[in-house]
Symmetry: C2
Subunit: 207 residues, 2 copies
Amino acid sequence: MARRGPNNGGEKRDRILRAAVKIFSRKGFFNSKVSEIARAAEVADGTIYLYFRNKDDLLISLFEEKMGEVVADVRRRIAVGGNALEKLRIFIESHMDLLERESGLVEVLQVELRQSTKFLKDYTPVKFFEYLEIISDILEEGKREGVLRPDLNTSIARRAIFGALDELSLTYILSRKPKYHPSVTAAELCRLLLEGLCVPGASAGKG
Amino acid sequence: MARRGPNNGGEKRDRILRAAVKIFSRKGFFNSKVSEIARAAEVADGTIYLYFRNKDDLLISLFEEKMGEVVADVRRRIAVGGNALEKLRIFIESHMDLLERESGLVEVLQVELRQSTKFLKDYTPVKFFEYLEIISDILEEGKREGVLRPDLNTSIARRAIFGALDELSLTYILSRKPKYHPSVTAAELCRLLLEGLCVPGASAGKG
DNA sequence: TCTGAGTGAATGGAGATTCATTCACAAGGG
DNA sequence: CCCTTGTGAATGAATCTCCATTCACTCAGA
């Protein structure tokens, strides 16, 4: 439990979280100094320890809280989608859209979450699983509606979809002068997922 | 340039690299101590510095050399494939196959390469780009053969494919009791990529 | 006797965390 | 209304631990 902060409402706690996103995204967790984050948040080093147990706890709190906001946002957007295909498109667009609005946040989630999931003992990325779950739900709905292949393996497909999205985001983040706008990438990925790589009617069904 | 080693042939250097893979995969780069790697390689701490400039150089050398072997191996396998579709399948199977044979290596490449690409100044993952390039080549070939959609965006598709593969590998690595055998995952991914998510003839072409 | 690969104890620096102290404000008493 | 005192948020210099890297030394082989 990240200790509930002192102070009014916790705007200071929030300043620290935002500063952490900025510094972690710029230099990575291990290369970031607590004192740098403190400076960026305009807070004393010790203050950080009033709101977070330690550096790890700061990272984890950041993951869960920010990812929580992302999940809530995506859910809200998807709700207005008509059928599963449209929802899937919205999901993908939302993800790529987040890149532009909060690239720092996406960088941290992308690069550090992977590390942390593996090496921080007893940390389960709850909110991240929720994010994946949203994809499953869409796929299942698509099957029920009859627009998606009924024999689709949902748990493999959702990982594949997330992986594709994740890698495309990373490419965007890492290239100084991106080749494509995120929305272009989103559209292309949608098409790839729905139609596949093959020319219509080729390899697949017939033979 | 990782100093060319002393000693005969460099079997000691190789011991160090293998030990590094083991330790890095188990604890991550930043949580691994040079002395641990030395112990695992049955070598003195200082010996590591006869073969590598520093800890970073050890990681980078590991990336380039091991990734180089992977690239060479995949190229060899693909060479026997008939058309592009078959080559793509072989590529995917090779990747998933590597998971079983050298899971430690894949773990390091997966989890640390991403970090390093972003935070190690002046390191370009040459061999990794070659790996991606193999996918592009297959896709281009497929277009020429007329089995893949001619309007496919190769550079986006290759990233999407790699991302899907990468995420599925990660899932396999992180779960103690994997749900599927890598070969099952490979088959499912192939189908997903080639045919897409939709029921045959649905949303896509006709509409 | 000379060379240089190999060793591992000692060093130096970095940086996470602590804690004695300050300070702003609130409550109570005169 | 002003002063005294209590409370706890905030501070940041000092501490304490850890570990990459160094280098004086050993010793096997030529």
